[in-house]
């Protein structure tokens, strides 16, 4: 299955007006998972995806790291504390934030070709 160029991380920034919180690498995303329940992410998210959530606490980084999630996008303009961002960067997880709601974000990502 070939991914569209729109599935590359920096390209998605524009469609959801996201601001990077960590350094971003030019990587392809294998899909997207949206959930605010950590155990649900642990159970159902695939490795290599973008995770969209409103949670900004440390456990998001732990869960993302455990599932080898590539990037986490926080919605509703939420941002984690600097030490949590630093922890994510250390674990190689990219963090982004958008002012859009989760619903708007999901619609735009889908439209942009992230499936």
């Amino acid at each position: 299955m070939k991914l569209k160029s729109a599935s590359k991380l920096p390209a998605l920034l524009t469609c959801v007006e996201a601001r990077p919180l960590t350094d971003l690498a030019e990587v392809e995303l294998r899909g997207c998972y949206i959930s605010d329940l950590l155990s649900d992410v642990l159970a159902n998210a695939q490795p290599g995806v973008l995770w969209v959530t409103i949670h900004v606490h440390r456990n998001v980084v732990s869960v993302a790291s455990m599932k080898d999630i590539t990037a986490v996008l926080f919605t509703c303009g939420r941002k984690p504390e600097p030490d949590i961002i630093a922890e994510a960067a250390e674990k190689g997880i990219m963090l982004l934030s958008t002012t859009l709601t989760t619903y708007e974000t999901a619609g735009k990502l889908w439209k942009a070709g992230l499936r």
């Binding site: 950590l38 949670h55 456990n59 980084v61 732990s62 455990m66």
Partner: protein, 367 residues
């Protein structure tokens, strides 16, 4: 006619011997006697003998297994099995004294020497005939068998066996390279020698196996990592440290990512369960070469209905936990799904004990 038959037999025997030897080399075992050597070894005082034949049935290009005993009879020499020094008598000894000699040593044949040179052999049959014929008190040289077939001490046992088959004698005197009589060999001697060798090799194999098992046990012990972590109630900030540690250890050991993930999820869910639901507890983790064992125990208050708790979506998490994204009611089902072994025990008012294990190799590749 006889000579012609001998040549054919020789050629056949040699050919078969060679094919067997090729396999022996393939099995990195050296035969004690090369076929050329065996053929040259025919001595003046005996007729040329066929090269040893391992199997009576002819086999061309057919796969055959060389048994361990067959390997041994190639490796071992006549000198390894013979009785040495031999019990001998002189040509002037009476048959009566030889009879006593046989009785005393429980043997059935005695080589006869004259001036230290082998001149004949007296067998138990000769003694019986002497008793029968009334000449038991006469000297050995009058009645001994002078037509003697001997073996060389460097012959392989496979050759010795062939000689027994060929001549039908009960024993052979054994000469060394200087034609000195150095021993006597019987079929019984060969059997005993083989049995001893088999026993010795079996003991060696057992000892080797024991060493191997001990080494493996020590290895596994050395590879075991035990991590004991105290988990505080409500300490959401610390959650994930244990599973991070487990992932680091497993990754360093080259465990498959999917298995690492399962172990990490179990540790994380067990940890957050203690944080969210209990008064505090402890997680003991041990990682060895076989599996990761995670044992989570807490001080209560216990689970009222374990079956309900195991049901997906059912949660008793408080508002703070839910605000943080916990309390999905998926913790225990997640653990169970990720674990290869899973046990949970709990009682209301007491504590909860959860034990889970993940094998480091996939089911189909482990024994």
């Amino acid at each position: 006619m006889k000579a012609a038959a001998k040549v054919v037999q020789n050629a056949n025997g040699h050919k078969r011997f060679k094919s067997v030897r090729t396999r022996l080399v393939g099995m990195t075992r050296k035969p004690a006697v090369a076929p050329e050597e065996t053929l040259k070894a025919g001595t003046a005082e005996e007729p040329v003998t066929p090269a040893p034949v391992i199997e009576k049935t002819p086999s061309v290009g057919e796969k055959r297994q060389v048994s361990f005993v067959q390997l041994l009879v190639f490796e071992l020499r006549v000198r390894d099995a013979m009785t040495s020094p031999p019990i001998t008598a002189t040509a002037t000894d009476s048959l009566r004294s030889i009879q006593h000699l046989m009785k005393a040593h429980r043997i059935s044949g005695v080589p006869i020497l004259a001036n230290d040179v082998l001149v004949g052999i007296i067998s138990i049959e000769d003694i019986i005939n002497a008793l029968d014929g009334g000449h038991i008190n006469e000297s050995a040289e009058q009645w001994m068998c002078r037509k003697i077939v001997t073996l060389r001490d460097h012959f392989s046992l496979v050759r010795a066996v062939a000689e027994f088959d060929r001549h039908g004698y009960g024993r052979f005197p054994v000469l060394d390279a200087n034609n000195r009589l150095v021993g006597v060999i019987t079929r019984g001697d060969i059997t005993i020698c083989l049995m001893h060798q088999l026993e010795r090799r079996a003991e060696e194999a057992v000892a080797k196996e024991a060493t191997l098992v001990a080494t493996r046990a020590a290895d596994e012990k050395a590879h075991r990592i035990v991590v004991n972590t105290d988990v505080k109630s409500g300490d959401f900030e610390s959650a994930g440290k244990l599973s991070q540690r487990i992932r680091e250890v497993l990754r360093a050991r080259g465990v498959a990512p999917e298995i690492v993930r399962r172990a990490a999820i179990i540790a994380y869910e067990a940890e957050t369960n203690i944080i969210i639901h209990s008064l505090g507890g402890r997680i003991n983790t041990s990682i060895d070469a076989i599996k990761v064992r995670i044992k989570a125990t807490d001080r209560g208050p216990g689970i009222e209905n374990v079956d309900l708790a195991m049901q997906e979506g059912w949660s008793t998490a408080g508002p703070l936990a839910r605000e943080l994204g916990f309390g999905a009611g998926m913790g225990l089902p997640n653990i169970k799904r990720c674990a290869d072994e899973f046990v949970i025990q709990s009682e209301l008012g007491g504590g909860t004990r959860l034990q889970a294990a993940v094998f480091l190799q996939k089911a189909e590749t482990r024994l």
